[in-house]
């Protein structure tokens, strides 16, 4: 019995390690500079995007790319700075152009740009510039890393609400406003409110850096 238990424990440990290895963040190319006392990062996000990104972004549907950046000590998990950015991309099939809306702490209502060419769009998306990670003085003498999480097309809160309404009232065809006609659907919709759907998630981690390695303009 004991060897069997030991064997099972070893198997579970091996599975956990394998999972951890699979989920391990990929290296992130980044530069960090201090400007006006603020720590600004520029990230190369190109490895995060799938090969068929052009097909995805040109499908005429709303596509969302969510970027989370955390400044954490090299040997620790408690971030000292967090940054979030949501990029909405919509290809207008009539105008044949990409409309991009970027929302971040500096522009919570969104800043829109338009790209007629996919290459321009890809270049814009692949390089995340001027990511504000707070005061440069926070760095001190420690060694730090940037941990990045990129989600492609997560189900947004607004889309989740539309989906819940669609479940609660299938007859309304996904457009809100009509009262629910399904008791079971309404209850399922209510229970769905806390759903956290998986998305295509890519994790990256930069090379360690210290305050001395931060460039200044």
């Amino acid at each position: 019995m004991v060897p069997l238990l030991r064997r099972a424990g070893l198997l579970a440990l091996a599975l956990a390690l394998a999972t951890r290895a699979r989920d391990a963040p990929r290296p992130l190319a980044s530069t960090v500079e201090a400007k006006d006392g603020r720590l600004l990062a520029t990230l190369d996000l190109a490895p995060a995007f799938p090969q068929d990104l052009k097909r995805v972004l040109s499908n005429g549907l709303s596509n969302v790319i969510v970027l989370h950046v955390a400044l954490v000590p090299e040997h620790g998990d408690e971030p000292v700075a967090l940054y979030g950015r949501e990029v909405d991309v919509l290809y207008d099939v009539w105008e044949e152009s990409y409309t991009v809306t970027v929302k971040d702490p500096s522009n919570p209502r969104g800043l829109s740009r338009s790209f007629r060419d996919y290459e321009e769009l890809h270049a814009f998306l692949a390089e995340a510039r001027a990511i504000d990670l707070g005061s440069a003085a926070e760095l001190g003498s420690k060694s730090w890393v940037l941990r990045t999480r990129i989600e492609l097309n997560p189900v947004s809160r607004e889309l989740l609400d539309r989906t819940r309404e669609f479940i609660a009232n299938p007859a309304a065809g996904g457009r809100g406003g009509a009262p629910s006609r399904s008791v079971l659907g309404a209850m399922a919709s209510y229970l769905l409110r806390g759903a956290e759907p998986g998305a295509e998630v890519a994790r990256f981690e930069s090379a360690p850096f210290t305050a001395r390695e931060v460039s200044t303009p």
Partner: protein, 527 residues
């Protein structure tokens, strides 16, 4: 014993079984069993339904969120893109065609443009521009777009080759504005919304399925809970009534024959059981009362017999002795005063002996009541015969007979005549000094025949009605108190009942109930 089931139910007696129920917080075992059975009966099929719901949800989602459907939906905007591309190419081609047909005469350019707008489908405006974009000639559709709401799609400006040939300045170009149906854009927006929701639902498929199963489980749980509560409530109603019955049975076991339970208006088995219990207790009580009464009468009969014997024996010697005393005394007495005293004493002795003899006769009569010998009779006919053959009663009272439906009964004619005679004489005595006016009536109940003897006298006070049938109880100076006792005994021996009440309008009313012969073949009641 005949159950008095045709009577109105007696009001429930006060007692532990009749106490107001206090709501219990802790369920009884019976309630728990019923509630548990209902919950089990609800949950077992519901568990199967839950499994079915899970399967159905999975299959429905597999159908509704078929990857091919989602893929087709997601491809819809691209299809609109292709449509728009085709339209743009068409419009560009049409603009080039117009350009090739431009007239060389500048004076005809405006008319040409107007004709082009008129004949070219969806062309809303055509304009010739100079190199700086200023309009040289233009024509615009005046009427509404045949396809309804529209959005402009501009083709060009397309440079005019060899503009001088058409009298146009260098750099001139043709710009055409075509109409694109606005519904395309609305449909595109709708399709995009739907595709995005389907895409989201596809991403949330596992969560949606889980939500549906949980929602179904919540509904099923609520249903099972409701079933359990309903079962507990139903069980509580039943168990409370059974509890009342149990307490009443315990009271009965302790000898409380006045206990009754509330049967209520329900028609179920428990209510039937309560009614049967009440009827049984009533029968037991009446039977006990009858037995007790008959035993008591029997005892009094023995007393009456001994009294009659003890009183009767010395009466004759006393009478003879006094007669001898009177006979020895000379007819011409020496002492006239003694002679008068002797005569007065003789009168007193004879009167008192006469009274004692009547008393002895009544005691003997009471003590020697014969056994009841039942024979079939019709109550109305019996009463009519009694009135007809009792002229002496008719002389003393006015007898009013109210005939009722046929009531076949079994009775001892002689004893029942005695019953009627006693009741009527009692009424005549009660009505004195007025002449008695008596109402004799017959009524047929469900299982009994009732005849009533009512007078218009002073009536019987309510507090005396319980004792009026006791032997030797009388309110009259000259009465012996045996008449009504004899009546009751005879009635009980017939398997009947007698009760006294107030007559509406004044007087006393004695109601006798005898079992109908059709329902029971009565046998004489033994003392």
């Amino acid at each position: 014993m005949t159950a008095p089931s045709d009577r109105a139910p007696e009001p429930p007696a006060a007692g532990p079984a009749r106490r107001r129920r206090r709501p219990r917080l802790t369920p009884s075992r019976f309630e728990l069993k019923i509630a548990g059975a209902l919950v089990l009966a609800a949950v077992v099929p519901l568990a199967a339904a839950l499994w079915l719901a899970r399967t159905l949800t999975e299959e429905n989602l597999a159908v509704a969120l078929n990857p091919r459907v989602v893929a087709r939906l997601e491809a819809t905007p691209a299809l609109y893109g292709d449509l728009f591309q085709a339209r743009k190419q068409l419009y560009a081609e049409q603009a080039r065609t117009l350009l090739g047909e431009l007239p060389q005469n500048p004076a005809r350019l405006k008319a040409f443009l107007a004709a082009a707008v008129e004949r070219t489908p969806r062309l809303r405006r055509a304009a010739l521009l100079d190199g700086g974009g200023a309009v040289l000639y233009e024509a615009e559709a005046s009427g509404p777009n045949p396809d309804g709401e529209w959005r402009p799609a501009t083709a060009g400006p397309v440079a005019v080759p060899d503009p001088a040939r058409h009298g146009l300045p260098a750099g001139a170009a043709l710009e055409c504005t075509f109409a694109v149906e606005a519904r395309f854009f609305a449909d595109l927006s709708e399709a995009r919304d739907l595709a995005e929701v389907y895409h989201s639902a596809e991403a949330l498929r596992a969560d949606i399925q889980r939500s549906y199963v949980r929602a179904f489980a919540v509904l099923l749980g609520a249903w099972a809970l409701a079933a359990g509560l309903a079962g507990a409530l139903l069980a509580r109603r039943t168990t409370a009534r059974l509890g009342d019955l149990l307490r009443a049975v315990r009271q009965l076991a302790k000898g409380n024959l006045s206990v009754q339970v509330e049967a209520g208006s329900a028609r179920d088995e428990v209510a039937g059981l309560a009614r049967a219990f009440n009827a049984m207790v009533r029968e037991v009580r009446e039977s006990r009362d009858r037995i007790v009464y008959l035993e008591k009468i029997s005892g009094w009969q023995e007393v009456a017999r001994r009294l009659a014997h003890e009183i009767k024996n010395p009466l004759t010697p006393i009478q003879l002795a006094f007669q001898q005393l009177e006979a020895r005394y000379p007819s011409r007495p020496a002492d006239p005063e003694f002679a008068r005293l002797l005569a007065d004493a003789g009168d007193i002795v004879r009167e008192e002996i006469g009274t004692l003899k009547r008393l002895v006769e009544e005691f003997s009569s009471f003590a020697q009541l014969p056994e009841v010998r039942l024979e079939p009779a019709e109550l109305n006919l019996f009463l009519e015969e009694f009135v007809r053959t009792s002229p002496q009663l008719g002389e003393e009272a006015e007898l009013l007979l109210e005939r009722g439906p046929d009531c076949p009964v079994a009775l001892d004619r002689a004893l029942m005549r005695r019953v009627l005679t006693n009741l009527i004489r009692n009424a005549i005595a009660a009505s004195r000094p007025a002449r008695a006016r008596l109402h004799l009536s017959v009524a047929r109940l469900e299982e009994h025949a009732r005849f009533t003897v009512a007078d218009e006298g002073p009536g019987v006070p309510a507090e005396l009605r319980e004792r009026i049938f006791d032997p030797y109880f009388t309110t009259r100076h000259e009465g012996t108190g045996l008449g009504l006792a004899i009546v009751k005994k005879i009635v009980l021996q017939h398997g009947g009942e007698i009760a006294v009440s107030a007559r509406p309008g004044g007087g006393a009313s004695f109601a006798l109930e005898l079992p109908l012969a059709a329902h029971e073949a009565p046998t004489a009641r033994e003392e």
